[in-house]
């Protein structure tokens, strides 16, 4: 796949003429370009320069997940009301006939009232009948208004970047619980942990190791600086799945299992992958997952008293935002365990 055209933020257009101008661009591009779209992906950010950064992400993923991308750089605190728009396309050569497949991009810079009226200014430019995934790259602010969220099918965010995760988790929980919304919460931090969860789950597929889940005594996680929330989500997931209850709130918390046995959790910051090591231990066995620095593989090691250790290697997911976003978009579906994992460690954020 080779990109042949990209321009950012693109051709400036009046907001009222976006659809017409897009149509004109298509007409002028002839028959060699095919429009493709699976979703509307809107990205909301309040930082200057975000249009360029997000345009770069779209350019990287549109070849694998065709979409109408809507980029929003907003300053809701600005006085008055300001709205500017640009259109562009991301095209990729496909097949042997020399044609290319293109995704549309509409970029907005909004200030003041316009930035606070996304459903009116921006969401009137959706590719109709296709789902809307809204990637919220800013902090969520009160009040919770249903007008905006009822448009959204999937709400993407990355809890790793939250400075006050407890407040933010409470906020998204309120959004998800709005009667008018049916949106699916998609935390890219949760998506980031999926390959780890898969590799970890794989160690217990064997009937010989499965009973050890009930006998665990300790859980150690080494995480990169800034990835404590990823580690906590993993703790929450395991706690929810195994019926652990938080007993002692501390940087290294203590849980109890359904038989009231104590489980010590240790979180250690270590340079490397977001999660570089997990070790679950019982009296007789240990289950270790390791990702060496710079390695793109996970090594899982199961050790049991009296047995030869079992070592498996599996491909680790790449941790670039592009890869995580693509995986999340391709996966779809709901994430029923996410909210439960968040709840299981809600006192630890």
């Amino acid at each position: 796949m080779e990109e042949d055209v990209s321009f950012s933020p693109g051709l400036p257009v009046p907001i009222g003429s976006i659809e017409m101008e897009l149509g004109r661009v298509w007409e002028e591009s002839g028959t060699s370009k095919t429009r493709a779209s699976l979703i509307n992906l809107a990205i909301y950010n309040e930082k200057p320069g975000s249009l360029e950064a997000n345009s770069s992400i779209i350019r990287e993923i549109a070849g694998e997940h065709a979409m109408r991308a809507i980029l929003i750089q907003a300053d809701p605190n600005e006085q008055g009301s300001r709205a500017e728009a640009w259109i562009s396309m991301h095209c990729y050569l496909r097949g042997s006939k020399g044609g290319s497949v293109c995704s549309e991009q509409i970029s907005f810079q909004l200030g003041g009232e316009a930035a606070r009226s996304l459903q009116s200014v921006v969401f009137s430019h959706l590719d109709s009948d296709l789902p809307l995934a809204l990637w919220w790259q800013a902090d969520f602010h009160p009040p919770v208004e249903s007008n905006l969220w009822q448009w959204v099918d999937r709400l993407l965010f990355d809890s790793r970047h939250w400075k006050k995760p407890k407040q933010q988790f409470e906020f998204i929980t309120r959004i998800a619980n709005l009667v008018e919304t049916k949106l699916v919460l998609c935390d890219l931090n949760w998506a980031r942990s999926l390959p780890v969860r898969q590799a970890l789950a794989g160690m217990f597929d064997n009937p010989g190791t499965l009973p050890e889940l009930q006998l665990l005594k300790s859980l150690q996680i080494d995480h990169a600086p800034g990835s404590r929330s990823t580690a906590l989500l993993l703790v929450g997931w395991i706690a929810d799945r195994l019926g652990w209850v938080l007993k002692e709130i501390s940087p290294n918390p203590i849980f109890s299992d359904p038989k009231s046995e104590k489980i010590q959790v240790t979180l250690t910051e270590k340079v490397g992958a977001s999660i570089s090591r997990m070790l679950l231990g019982s009296d007789n066995s240990s289950f270790e997952l390791i990702r060496e620095q710079e390695s793109d593989l996970y090594r899982t090691i199961v050790k049991s008293t009296g047995s030869v250790p079992t070592v498996r290697m599996v491909r680790a997911a790449r941790e670039e935002t592009r890869e995580i976003l693509l995986a999340e978009l391709a996966r779809g579906g709901r994430h029923p365990l996410y909210s439960r994992a968040v709840l299981a460690v809600s006192e630890l954020w």
Binding site: G202, D205, N206, P207, L210, L242, L297, V314, R315, L337
Partner: protein, 512 residues
């Protein structure tokens, strides 16, 4: 989750994948030095291992006649996997994966080979935790099936220990006619129960074949039109530009009817024509597919020559290059009557499809390759836009199975301008356009399904037998004469007789 469930289910698996988890086992590949193992099976298993999709403690045992050590076998497999894998091979991953591969050298009729195999598997059950589960893969010529099956039974390898399973995967052809298929099914089912028998038709592992059911049963607009009230006819085509490519020995005994129609094309027909199953369970789906086969109007005697055209390619041009006539291919007899082209007009005698002709054609040495299902809808009434001499084109829904998988719908639209001119336009969905990511190989899905015990995408014995029962009627009639064999130039779209067959129903074969 109930704490007791932890004893039997892995609670960490919930929500991670929406498919059954494959169970830990030993996979024994008979004919492990062959092409299928090198080109398809091991590359598929490597990719699954790299994604962490394989069960823990999976052991792969190659069982074949050639002298070689496990190390040599691993080395050969590494070379072929580097060549045929859909993803690049990572050295560390390969080494970890290859450590689970072993080689058992033995003739297929040597009982000691099987007792050694059994002993080594038992050893690994303890040392590697393969739990006594066995998956046997017959990647050998059908004449070896009885020998291998007999030895599996005699050595007790077909009998799982308590709490474990023993399964078999059989590659096509599943017999050469109804009688041999029954014999084979009997033979297999004497050794393995039907629920542990997995007959692979790799067509069913393709994404687009699986998408037929999604298209039909997840979209209300199609299913409500999917019947004789709205559909005029259906065409299923599987064309390839290749010739017999060194398989003349096999092809001379099979021909296009046995090689393609009995399995791949009738499978596509059943998916296209079946009633909605009661569930997505393997038997619920296969029950409905069998009903379609049972509803096929049998073709016998003279009916065969009215409804079926067989032909052979003569010399011609493919991609501008001259190619030999079939009878001049190496290993083909000069007076061969083996069909390389077959076109059929079928009827499904049930409530839904009464009066709707189904056209099936498959051939070698066609101008281009491709497999598709085209559903042509009935025209609009001859009022309003359809009154003039120029008829409107009917709506056609095309499901492309390969290559360029996708779905298109042809409909009518007004040409811009002051006059009323209506032209056909096409709405086209390409998998490759919308989903840029490469799809997994069919064998990856099918191997995982077999390890999980999910037989949905595998042919059941009654499906195979019903398909043979239908095909046998045609083959029997063909034996009575050979003057119906038509000829067409390689690189053409088939003989005029096929054009006439369709024309009798006022149908023309689709241009692909």
């Amino acid at each position: 989750m109930n704490p007791d469930d932890i004893l039997t289910m892995n609670p960490l698996r919930e929500g991670i994948a929406n498919r059954l988890t494959p169970e830990t086992c030993t996979l024994v590949i008979f004919g492990a030095t062959g092409d299928l193992t090198h080109r398809k099976l091991i590359p598929a298993l490597y990719n699954l291992a790299a994604e962490g999709a394989l069960p823990p403690s999976l052991i792969i045992r190659g069982f074949a006649r050639r002298e070689k050590t496990t190390d040599q076998f691993r080395k050969e497999l590494e070379e072929s996997t580097r060549k045929f894998s859909r993803t690049p091979v990572n050295d560390e991953l390969w080494n970890n994966f290859a450590a689970s591969i072993f080689y058992n050298q033995s003739a297929f009729d040597d009982s000691r080979g099987y007792s050694d195999l059994a002993a080594e598997m038992r050893e690994h059950d303890i040392a590697k935790g393969t739990c006594g589960n066995r998956l046997f893969y017959l990647a050998v010529a059908p004449d070896q099936f009885p020998i291998i099956l007999g030895h599996l039974r005699n050595s007790g390898l077909n009998k799982p220990s308590e709490g474990s399973w023993s399964r078999i995967i059989v590659e096509k052809p599943f017999g050469m006619d109804l009688s041999t298929a029954r014999e084979l099914n009997g033979l297999v089912n004497d050794v393995f129960p039907e629920k542990e028998t997995f007959r692979i038709d790799h067509f069913l592992g393709k994404e687009t074949a699986q998408n037929i059911m999604v298209l039909r049963f997840a979209n209300s607009i199609f299913e409500s039109l999917w019947n004789s009230s709205h559909i005029s006819h259906v065409q299923i085509t599987a064309a390839e530009p290749l010739g017999v490519e060194g398989r003349a020995g096999y092809y001379e005994t099979s021909g296009a009817m046995r090689d393609m129609v009995q399995n791949h094309l009738l499978q596509l027909l059943t998916l296209m024509a079946m009633e909605p199953p009661t569930s997505l369970g393997a038997d619920a789906i296969r029950d409905e597919k069998v009903k379609v086969l049972r509803s096929l109007r049998p073709l016998r005697g003279d009916d065969v020559f009215r409804h079926v055209v067989r032909a052979q390619y003569t010399e011609g041009l493919i991609n501008g290059q001259p190619v030999n006539a079939y009878r001049n291919e190496q290993g083909v007899s000069m007076d061969s009557t083996t069909e390389t082209y077959v076109a059929l007009q079928l009827n499904i005698d049930n409530w839904r499809w009464a009066g709707v002709p189904f056209f099936i054609r498959t051939a070698k040495r066609m101008p281009k390759g491709g497999t598709e299902i085209a559903v042509t809808f009935k025209g609009v009434p001859r009022v309003l836009f359809n009154q003039s001499a120029q008829n409107l084109d009917e709506n056609v829904l095309v499901i492309r199975i390969q290559p360029d998988e996708g779905v298109s719908l042809r409909m009518s639209a007004k040409m811009p301008g002051s006059s009323l001119r209506i032209e056909p336009v096409k709405m086209d969905f390409h998998y490759g356009t919308s989903f840029g990511k490469a799809t997994p190989e069919a064998y990856e899905r099918l191997l995982l399904d077999a390890m999980s015990g999910d037989a949905t995408l595998f042919a059941r014995c009654d499906e195979v037998e019903e398909a043979w029962a239908f095909v046998d009627g045609i083959e029997e009639a063909w034996k009575t004469r050979s003057d119906d064999l038509a000829f067409h130039a390689a690189g053409s779209w088939g003989p005029t007789e096929a054009t006439e067959l369709a024309a009798r129903h006022e149908v023309t074969w689709r241009r692909m």
